[in-house]
């Protein structure tokens, strides 16, 4: 077993708005070091770092839009989001919850700050990921996994040093709560100041850390402050994370899907022809209908 070293530590890029409700730093895909293939199967990561939204009677968010060919995963750290889709589904996720939507063959959905939360306003902090699907599952039936925080399986760190929420995959015998189409590990790591813990993830799995709260040191020497993204090299398995102050870190690790990626707008397919088909199907109402 060898050390998985740090390949890159990136600060948050200039934020931009998605709709009027998500002020995000786009870490993936951004530039050649973090294109869709580099963190494949994690092909998109928007990070809404902690941001205060003032009270609003009209909930802010993103109106009706389609997706096809992948999964969207929203991890709520602070604030509440309400979503609806063309299949008649919907729900609210709050602090610590996760919405895992398999868009697959196609959905229309919209996401807004939850009505009552919006009226009060407050700090808002979320991660949205797009996780690619293998060709054989791209056109499968859409589904949801609404994962409440209390249902996430946890690994407790000794001496009350913190805990690891195993959202997907496995960590030291604790199985993840979400089901995935390809091998993926997703952990929310909550560490008390000074605590160090270790991870072992396959060398070929594309792996990254996002420092959501506090600051950390990776492998004893690589410092990553709040809102930084740490890309791990594919050179080994083992690495350590130490909290310089109380910290929350999102760890993503996944086996790359060895297939071509054809992406445009909200569709991620394997070929250009499939993309053209996706636009045509969307335009002709084959994704269903959802009121704005």
């Amino acid at each position: 077993m060898t050390t998985k070293t740090v390949e890159l530590i990136a600060g948050p890029p200039e934020p931009h708005y998605v709709g009027d409700g998500f002020r995000v730093h786009n870490f993936i895909p951004s530039g050649f070091r973090l294109d869709m293939q580099r963190m494949n199967p994690f092909i998109m990561m928007d990070y809404n770092s902690k941001f205060y939204f003032s009270p609003s009677e009209k909930p802010r968010g993103v109106g009706v839009h389609p997706h096809r060919g992948f999964e969207t995963v929203t991890i709520a750290y602070q604030g509440k989001v309400e979503h609806h889709d063309s299949g008649g589904g919907g729900g609210v996720i709050g602090q610590g919850d996760i919405q895992w939507m398999t868009a697959a063959g196609g959905v229309l959905h919209k996401e807004f700050h939850e009505k009552e939360w919006s009226k009060k306003g407050g700090d808002f902090q979320m991660v949205q990921l797009w996780i690619n699907l293998p060709a054989k599952d791209k056109m499968s039936t859409p589904k949801y996994q609404a994962i409440k925080n209390e249902n996430i399986n946890r690994y407790s760190i000794e001496n009350n040093g913190g805990e690891i929420e195993v959202i997907a995959g496995e960590h030291k015998g604790i199985k993840g709560t979400a089901s995935t189409f390809t091998p993926i590990h997703m952990f929310n790591v909550k560490l008390k100041k000074g605590v160090e813990t270790d991870f072992s993830l396959p060398a070929n799995f594309n792996t990254s850390l996002l420092v959501v709260e506090g600051s950390i040191v990776v492998n004893g020497s690589e410092e990553a402050p709040t809102n930084n993204f740490v890309l791990m090299a594919n050179d080994g398995e083992n690495f350590t994370v130490k909290a310089v102050e109380d910290a929350v870190v999102l760890i993503l690790s996944g086996e790359p899907i060895d297939e071509p990626i054809a992406a445009h707008g909200p569709f991620v397919m394997n070929t250009r022809q499939e993309l053209i088909q996706a636009f045509d199907d969307f335009n002709k109402g084959k994704f269903g209908y959802l009121e704005d």
């Binding site: 707008g265 002709k284 109402g285 084959k286 704005d292």
Partner: protein
């Protein structure tokens, strides 16, 4: 799909090598503008044809009541201009505005002359582009006079497959000459017809 230079456009449509094209295209200026910025405003003289390398433009007019009417959208690899202003030297009746951050190549008369001289096949190609444009306008007039709103919508998505995801629906409605409510209804009816759970 999101970045298409003028050189690529010309070399993929003409029997010509890249060196010859780059000698001419290198003299052609490009302009980068932000979302919401204008390349042309009503009353100004249009000096160029705009080849969209990346981004999205719209050409529109504003009527006496202040209502906007969209004539064209121009995504990547489209050429947009006010021909009345450029070729007949009239103040323009139109606005040309970027709906996304946009980079255009500025095509002027000198560029057309140089290209026609160095690459004779361009003359035929340019003619074809012009006739293509006239055909498009002819279809558009005929459709506005005779086709149902749904037929116009179906034609629109054929011509502009990704525009619905790039602009507010109110602009698509403006292009089609219908209200946003009618567009919504058409899309809803199509979904009921085509959506299989």
């Amino acid at each position: 799909m999101n970045n298409f230079t003028l050189s690529t456009f010309l070399t993929s449509n003409l029997q010509v090598d890249e060196t010859t094209i780059s000698l001419i295209v290198d003299h052609c200026k490009t302009k980068t503008i932000g979302q919401g910025d204008y390349l042309l405003r009503q009353g100004e003289y249009c000096k160029h044809s705009f080849f969209v390398e990346t981004g999205l433009l719209r050409q529109y007019s504003i009527d006496a009541k202040g209502k906007e009417h969209i004539l064209h959208f121009a995504p990547e690899s489209w050429i947009l201009t006010d021909r009345e202003s450029v070729y007949f030297n009239q103040p323009s009746n139109y606005f040309i505005q970027a709906l996304e951050p946009t980079r255009v190549a500025l095509i002027d008369e000198q560029f057309i002359e140089q290209l026609s001289e160095k690459v004779p096949s361009f003359i035929d190609f340019n003619n074809k582009l012009l006739h293509n444009h006239i055909r498009h306008l002819q279809n558009r007039i005929n459709q506005l006079l005779s086709a149902t709103a749904e037929e116009r919508y179906l034609d629109f998505i054929k011509m502009y497959p990704d525009i619905l995801l790039r602009v507010p629906q109110i602009m698509v409605a403006s292009y089609l000459g219908i209200t946003p409510e009618s567009l919504s209804r058409i899309r809803k009816e199509l979904a009921y017809k085509n959506f299989k759970k």
